[in-house]
Each structure stands twice: as C-alpha cells, then as structure tokens.
C-alpha cells in the first residue's frame, strides 16, 4: 500500500474534546473563560482561516455492527467526548497545532485534536492507487 496516495486538502479540523466544565466556577469566572475562548475564535476569523464551526449535543446514538445495533453511546460521560469542531483552511499541520496550542480552554481540561483533512478516505485512496 502506498501511503502517499492520500492527499491533504489544505485544511485542518480541530476537534474540541471534553465537555465537562467545572460546575463550581462562578458566573464571573465562566464569563472570563467565554471571553477568552471567544477571543481565540475571533482571532481565527480575523485571519480569514475559519471555514466553519459547530458544537455537538451531548446526547447522540451509536450505530454499530452487522445488526446495525443502536446504543446511546457514552458521549456525555466521556472526558474525551467531542464537544465541537473548528474547520480551518490551514495547510501546515505545524501551523494548525500552533493555533490549537493557543486555545484557552486547554487550561480547563479540554483537549484539541488536530487532524488534516484528506481528499479521499483511506480505502478509497487504496482502490484508486491499485487502479492506476
């Protein structure tokens, strides 16, 4: 298998992991976090690289297996549950990582997963490579 058959599109997805906020934060403290977080988003926007962003509900379904089994998933309980995403038009992963490092909610226990967007999914890329 040729690992080079997958190409990046020049975009990165930042997945925000961690939906649990310290519930003992006072409203003033929550607002400070909000202001910082929002400031970070503003910065992405002013650089013209923010392509889209959405938060995710904590509830959801997990569909799996040949029986298409539907379960509730463990999204709300998991510390690593995905809380939302930011899609950035940034080609360099180093650059995307730098932006992620500046995300102020890291200080509150959130994680940011940085993933380059691929033009094709891996199996499709393999099929394409085999054909050529």
């Amino acid at each position: 298998m040729n690992p080079n058959t997958q190409q990046t599109t020049g975009e990165h997805l930042l997945l925000i992991r961690g939906t649990h906020w310290n519930s003992s934060l006072s409203p003033a403290e929550l607002q400070r976090v909000m202001t910082d977080f929002y400031g970070w988003v503003e910065d992405l926007r002013s650089k013209g690289i923010l392509r889209g962003a959405q938060p995710l509900m904590e509830e959801g379904k997990l569909v799996s297996g040949p029986q298409s089994l539907v379960t509730d998933g463990i999204f709300a309980e998991s510390k690593e549950a995905i809380a939302g995403y930011f899609l950035l038009s940034v080609a360099s992963t180093d650059e995307a990582v730098k932006l992620a490092q500046a995300c102020p909610i890291l200080a509150h226990g959130a994680q940011v997963e940085v993933r380059p967007i691929a033009d094709l999914c891996r199996p499709m890329a393999d099929v394409k490579a085999a054909q050529s």
Binding site: T19, L25, S26, F37, Y38, G39, E42, L44, Q54, P55
Partner: protein, 422 residues
C-alpha cells in the same frame, strides 16, 4: 446558521453572566417557589455553561440575555417534568409554572431592579436567617459570586461556605419563607434589616483587616450596586436608603487611598485627596441631597454627613470639625454605642483639644469591648502623645500593635511607637 464571530465579544457586557445569572435565579425562584432555590441556581449555572459550549462556535446570539433565559427555563422544565410528584400532586400550581416556563418574557432594563430580584433580596435578608447565612446567600444568588470567592472575602473555606449555603436553602424551605416583598405594615422594619445587612456587606469589604483585597472591593461594589437599585425602586426608595447609598459612596471614594503602594495604612490626614474618586463623591453628595426629605433622620444620614465633611474638605486643616462633632453628638443619641463614642472623641479632640478628647475616651460607658480593639489604644496613644507624655504614648501604641489584626496595621502602629522612642 450564523457564522462564528459575527458579533465581537466586546458587544457583550463584561458582567452579563453575573447580572443575568442573578436576575434569572430570582426570576426562577419567584415562579417555582423558594423551596426550589437550589434548582433555580443549578439550572442557571447549567445555562451559563451551555452558553460557553455553544456561543464560541455559533457566534453570540442576537439577544444573549433572552438566550440564557430560554435555556434556563427549558432546563427547569425538564427537571420539573422528571419529578414524579410534580404533575400528580400540584397540578394546578404546576400548570401555572409550566405556562410561565414556556412563555416568552419581556426583558427588564439592565440597570433596573426587577421585582423578582427585590423579592429575592427580602428572602436573603430575612430576619429569621443568621447574618452569616444572609450575606452568603445574597452574595451567591443576587451577586453571583462562587463559594470560593465568598470564602476568600470572609477568610472561610470554600467547603464551609458551600455547607452554609446548603443549610440556608434548607432553612428557607423548612421555614417556608415567602418569596415576596413584605406587606406595608412590615415593610419599614424589613427594609431596615435589608439596609443593615447591605451596610454590613459594605463594611466587610471596606475594612482593611482581612481577606483578599480584590474580593473585598467587589463586596463594596456589590453593596453599592444593590443599594443604588433599592434607592430607585418605588417600594424601597426611602430617605434612609438614599442616605445609606450616600454613606457608601462617600466612604468608597476613599477606598484606594487608605493603603499605600507598599501596603501600609495611610491615615485620613495623610491621604492624597487628589486621588479620591470624584465620581463617587459626587454620587454620594447627590444621594445625600435626595435623602434630605421627610422628617426622619437615620444614622445613615448622620454618618453620611460626617463622611461628606471629610470628602468636601480640601485638606485636613480645613476640615469642618465642629460640624463633624455636631453630627457625632446627634449620632450618639441615635446610636449610643461605644464605637460611635470613640469616634466622637476624635472629633472632640480636634475641636477642643486632646485633653477633652482623652477624658471623653476614657469615660465611655461599657468601653471594655473597645479595649480589645487596636483602634481604641491607637487613638488614646495619639491623644497622650499630643499631651506630651511620650513614654505613656509609646506603651499605648505598643498595646495597639499587639491587638492589630493585619500586618499593615501592625506595622503602622509599631512605626508610631518607634517615633516616640527616646
């Protein structure tokens, strides 16, 4: 779908969460009952967290306050529907609650005291609650401070404050305290209680002897804010309310100059008067003017009058001490406490000399409570020093230093003691 960053964060007031949070807690408690105060607080907290989880991605909503209100109401509705007894036992009440929870609400103006918040204040400062409970609850529900912040202000652990809050909510539930403005007959007395508690809150922030400085300033600001709201609400805008507002503003104007950059206490006569907060002084003087109606003079009127004399004097030398003494004479009739008598002795000494000041100080009835305070000995020392008895003065400064509660005070008093060495 709105794009992220459509509204800049500066469009949202810095204190939106706190103000809206407190307003919402009062509003929810008003409609759900004081026995559900905990639920009201929980859903408001959750609504703020949800805003934090949504707004950065989606942009700040057109009307953030309405968004928070809706989120909190939805969460409350969900929670009530989960309560099994809810629909069975209290069908009638719950129908009304459900109507309210699902209804759009007209927004109150930001700088207006909503009637619900006013009721909340009367619940917090109910005479059946202890003073500690009153202050903790008011700071939590009306001012939106966290247990950690409240603990920092009173030098008590976060856990102790949290426990105090739980007990207080439980007590409100057990006593079935009504979520209401007291009826006309009870109002004057109950308002007195609310004003007294707010003054206490202010003084907790004002005193330089304990707690974190920033949090203490916050207490002063909150006390002023709530008193200001009461002073414009038709039910509570009594002369005494305005006089208390005047008193707080005039004292707060001098808050920053009482401690030097190096953390030392600066006595009134040495403070840099150009650094006093002119805006606060103006608000205080205006409030005092507005308070001068009716035929009742409260202690707040007199104390504000004294503070005004200090604030309006260009220097220590040009301070109108005879007017201050006159006000203290009146105050002593209204509030015959050892503290008032002690402060009066300072004014007396300025008008008629240290000998009379000392005689008055040493003849205060029940002064043993004063003798445990550093201030009594510091004042006594300054009188004795002026009368030319350095050794005796030094001993009194030393005694004062021993009793001082904070380092800044102690250092100041030890410095005074050393000045009179040899």
């Amino acid at each position: 779908m709105s794009r992220p960053g459509e509204r800049s964060p500066s469009l949202v007031a810095d204190d939106l969460f706190r103000r809206e949070g407190a307003r919402l807690v009062a509003s929810l408690a008003a409609h759900l009952g004081t026995h559900r105060l905990q639920l009201a607080e929980d859903v408001v907290q959750e609504a703020l967290v949800r805003a934090l989880q949504t707004w950065p991605y989606r942009g700040i909503p057109e009307n953030p306050a309405a968004w928070l209100t809706q989120a909190a109401k939805n969460l409350a509705l969900d929670s009530l529907r989960r309560e099994q007894t809810w629909q069975r036992k209290e069908a009638q009440i719950t129908a009304e609650q459900e109507r309210w929870l699902t209804r759009d609400e007209e927004r109150a103006h930001e700088h207006e005291l909503s009637d619900d918040t006013l009721r909340m204040l009367f619940v917090c400062f109910h005479p059946q609650l202890s003073v500690e409970a009153q202050l903790a609850l008011a700071l939590r529900t009306v001012c939106g401070l966290s247990p950690a912040e409240i603990g920092a202000a009173f030098l008590v652990s976060e856990a102790a404050i949290a426990k105090r809050l739980v007990r207080t909510r439980q007590l409100i539930r057990d006593l079935r305290l009504p979520f209401a403005v007291p009826p006309d007959g009870e109002l004057p007395q109950r308002l007195d209680g609310v004003l007294g508690a707010l003054y206490l809150l202010f003084n907790e922030g004002y005193k330089a002897s304990s707690g974190d400085r920033l949090v203490r300033e916050e207490l002063c600001r909150e006390a002023i804010r709530l008193t200001r709201l009461l002073s414009v609400h038709p039910v509570t805008s009594q002369p005494a309310t305005k006089a208390l507002l005047a008193l707080m503003c005039l004292n707060a104007a001098r808050l920053r100059t009482r401690v030097s950059a190096t953390g030392e206490i600066v006595r009134l006569q040495h403070q840099d008067r150009s650094q006093w907060d002119a805006g606060r002084i103006q608000e205080g003087i205006l409030a005092l003017g507005a308070a001068s109606t009716g035929d009742v003079i409260s202690a707040y009127h007199l104390e504000a009058g004294i503070a005004a004399c200090h604030c309006l004097a260009e220097s220590d030398a040009t301070t109108d001490w005879s007017r201050i003494l006159d006000l203290y004479d009146q105050l002593q009739l209204l509030k015959p406490t050892p503290i008032v008598a002690m402060n009066r002795s300072v004014a007396l000494a300025r008008v008629r000399g240290p000998r009379e000041g000392l005689a008055a100080l040493e003849s205060i009835p029940n002064r043993h409570s004063l003798e445990a305070q550093h201030l009594y000995h510091a004042i006594r020392a300054s009188f004795i020093a002026k009368l030319g008895h350095p050794a005796e003065a030094r001993a009194a400064w030393q005694r004062a230093a021993e009793l001082a509660q904070c380092d800044a005070e102690r250092e100041f008093l030890q410095g005074q003691s050393r000045k009179h060495d040899g």
